[in-house]
């Protein structure tokens, strides 16, 4: 971009600038009204004790946040949210890339495979959760029947979160796979021919050709998936209700229970603000990486 520092604007440039502002204003105002204003409103609420049922509405400052510092349920929810996000996104990326590569190599039935992948992803979260409720059923559920085991998938504190992660991977891995597959199709065959001429084997091709070319797409899918996972709600809400022992209660489930189930609007908003801050931090980190990549490219 040319620096417009001390350069005096011509009349035409000024007119253009005015027009630009006029064109941008509606979008900025709409965005501000739809996102910034509610976000500020939630932050304001989080500094209050507001309980409509009890007719209570008073300023409490940072009391809710101070309570979080000593609230084991909050720390547990934060830990669950973090673990769920890290593990599920990591597995989804690895599996997604593998499935995309397999799809590219597949000769027959590729359309069917694509349709099946889409189906898993297109199912509403609550439906997926119900399906897994049956699969994980302790006595006659398919998972236990196949394993020949009597595992208490959703009721054992050490198994419940892995079981939910598996369900989430099943549902969202296709999203990653489809993005990667689309990118793979656009890599020109000439690149691979050049690699093979240079004597690159399968591993070297994957390591030095395919993965670097996938990287930008992977990073964007990872951003989407991470932000989704940080706000994970439906699977745990339906399958475990956050249990056992709060081992699958994410921050959003905790916020939902506070806001909608018990109508503690101030306290629930404070939880919402924490989720919001977390999401913004992660998004900013990703965007930083993306920008650096753009500059490098």
């Amino acid at each position: 971009m040319p620096s417009s520092g001390r350069h005096r604007l011509t009349r035409r440039e000024r007119a253009e600038r005015r027009a630009a502002i006029a064109f941008v204003t509606p979008a900025v105002v709409t965005l501000a009204a739809l996102t910034a204003a509610p976000a500020l409103w939630v932050f304001w609420l989080s500094l209050r004790e507001r309980l409509p049922v009890f007719g209570i509405d008073r300023f409490v400052g940072g009391a809710h946040y101070a309570f979080f510092a000593t609230d084991p349920r909050f720390w547990s929810a934060l830990r669950v949210t973090g673990t769920f996000t890290l593990v599920s996104v990591a597995i989804e990326l690895v599996l997604g890339v593998a499935v995309a590569l397999a799809l590219r190599g597949q000769r027959i039935g590729r359309r069917t495979a694509l349709a099946l992948l889409l189906l898993a992803w297109a199912l509403p979260g609550v439906v997926t959760a119900r399906v897994f409720e049956w699969l994980y059923q302790p006595v006659a559920g398919l998972v236990n029947v196949v394993l020949g085991a009597q595992l208490n998938w959703l009721g054992d504190p050490s198994l419940a979160l892995p079981a939910l992660i598996a369900a989430d991977v099943w549902r969202t891995m296709p999203f990653v796979a489809l993005f990667c597959y689309a990118r793979l199709l656009t890599i020109p065959p000439a690149v691979y021919e050049a690699a093979s001429v240079d004597g690159a084997g399968a591993v070297a091709t994957l390591r030095f050709v395919t993965l670097p070319m996938l990287a930008p797409v992977l990073l964007v899918t990872m951003l989407f998936r991470t932000l989704d996972a940080l706000r994970a709600f439906d699977i745990m809400y339906v399958l475990t209700g956050g249990g056992p022992a709060g081992m699958t209660e994410t921050l959003t489930v905790y916020a939902y229970r506070s806001l909608f189930q018990t109508l503690r609007l101030g306290f629930g908003s404070a939880l919402g603000v924490v989720v919001f801050a977390l999401v913004m931090l992660v998004a900013a980190a990703y965007l930083g990486v993306l920008r650096r990549q753009d500059r490098a490219a």
Partner: protein
């Protein structure tokens, strides 16, 4: 924001005017209710009411079956309608027992005290009538009823010469004895998933140890030692192998199916399960008995928690007389008899000895005696706070992640902060 609000207000005014213009038409009251199982009795009841009250029309609107979703629907509509001089869009609502004090405290319900005859609630179970009262006033009419009860496999107890257990120890012995010959059979199944059902099971454990979740002075888990014993009771059943480990993820349906398929000896569930066990295609038909829940201590009763629903009237209704007439009709013996002919249990005691109903549901008198001793969950506007606050702690204690002492301490802390906000 201002102009938008003004435009909305204008729209609302217009809508209000058009509605006010049509007051000559017979009043139409809207009844919001949960979808009923099986053969829906509501249309029949509405038709019967309209035949008796030709001046009144009733429109019914069913809500989804999830209690959380219904609660959310009512709260959003009732709170949103507050202070704007316009109703929430319905007049009579079917309320879960645990919502009545909350809705009354919020000012969403019409005070029915003056509209009722003295002693009008006496014909209902005391626990059902208690759930209708809060702060010395009546806010709703009892409509249908449920209570926690022990189901047992009468055939298996008889073949092993075992009496119906009255205490925890007798229940443990029965499980051990029967499992000697039926090793694959589960013992005592109940609801341990982290949800409202767990709160009911926990309350019953606390009551069996002669304490409660909320003390009369508003203290959470007032008696620490007994509360720990209550939490430990749930853990003990799993630890001693009396209950399978999977109860920690079990809700009503999961446990009902296990027992209904003949895979468990004892079950804690609600009254409604009996009709399903006695259905034509049931694997346990004719082999199921009902008893009060087992006692944990000598001389301490072990009442079941009550469930069911009541009928409340929106304070913003424009037809209070018609709405009250309709709610009273639904709660009447005539209407409850129709309900009791299906799969619903009435709140009126007389119906449990009604010969016509007994022919169809012979177990009603047995339920009557158990229901008489049943106890409502804490009647407080902060009930949902209490319940959702204690659930993770109860769950942690029963899967053994926390000791009962730690779970009690953490529950007190969590709920203490929530309840302090109410002062």
């Amino acid at each position: 924001m201002r102009p938008i609000a003004a435009a909305l207000a204008a729209l609302l005014l217009l809508a209000g005017c058009s509605e006010r213009a049509s007051t000559d038409a017979p009043p139409t009251i809207v009844f919001k209710h949960a979808r009923m199982f099986g053969d829906d009795p509501v249309p029949r009841l509405v038709a019967a009411f309209q035949a008796k009250h030709p001046g009144v029309r009733v429109a019914t609107e069913a809500l989804g079956s999830g209690a959380d979703e219904q609660h959310q629907f009512f709260v959003i509509n009732l709170e949103g309608a507050g202070g704007r001089g316009r109703g929430p869009g319905f007049d009579v609502m079917m309320l879960d027992v645990i919502w009545v004090p909350e809705f009354a405290r919020a000012g969403w319900l019409l005070d029915l005290t003056a509209a009722l005859a003295p002693g009008e609630l006496d014909a209902h179970f005391p626990a059902a009538a208690d759930a209708a009262r809060w702060n010395g006033r009546v806010w709703a009419l009892p409509w249908n009823f449920n209570a926690g009860v022990l189901y047992y496999r009468a055939d298996l107890l008889a073949s092993h010469d075992l009496p119906v257990p009255r205490t925890d120890e007798a229940l443990a012995r029965a499980v051990a004895t029967v499992r000697d010959t039926h090793p694959k059979l589960d013992g005592y199944v109940w609801q341990g998933k982290q949800y409202e059902g767990l709160t009911c099971n926990l309350l019953e454990a606390l009551w069996a140890h002669d304490t409660s979740l909320l003390g009369p002075d508003g203290a959470v888990l007032p008696d620490g030692a007994r509360a720990e014993a209550g939490f430990a009771r749930l853990r003990g059943w799993i630890e001693r192998g009396i209950s399978p480990a999977w109860v920690s993820a079990a809700d009503e349906e999961l446990t009902r199916r296990a027992f209904g398929d003949g895979r468990a000896l004892f079950l804690r569930n609600w009254f409604y399960a009996m009709d399903l066990f006695e259905a034509e295609d049931s694997a346990v038909r004719g082999r199921v008995g009902i008893a009060p829940l087992p006692r944990a201590r000598d001389g301490v009763a072990a009442p079941g928690a009550t469930g069911g629903s009541l009928l409340g009237i929106s304070r913003a209704t424009r037809h209070p007389a018609a709405a009250i007439a309709f709610a009273r009709y639904l709660a009447s013996e005539e209407a409850q008899r129709v309900l009791a002919g299906g799969s619903v249990l009435p709140t009126r005691r007389a119906l449990y000895h009604d010969p016509a109903l007994l022919a169809k549901r012979p177990h009603l008198p047995r339920f009557h005696d158990i229901a008489l001793a049943a106890r409502p969950r804490p009647v407080t506007p902060a009930y949902l706070m209490l319940s959702t606050g204690v659930q993770p702690e109860a769950s942690a204690a029963l899967v053994g992640v926390k000791t009962p002492a730690r779970a009690v301490a953490d529950a007190r802390r969590q709920l203490g902060y929530a309840l302090r906000g109410l002062r």
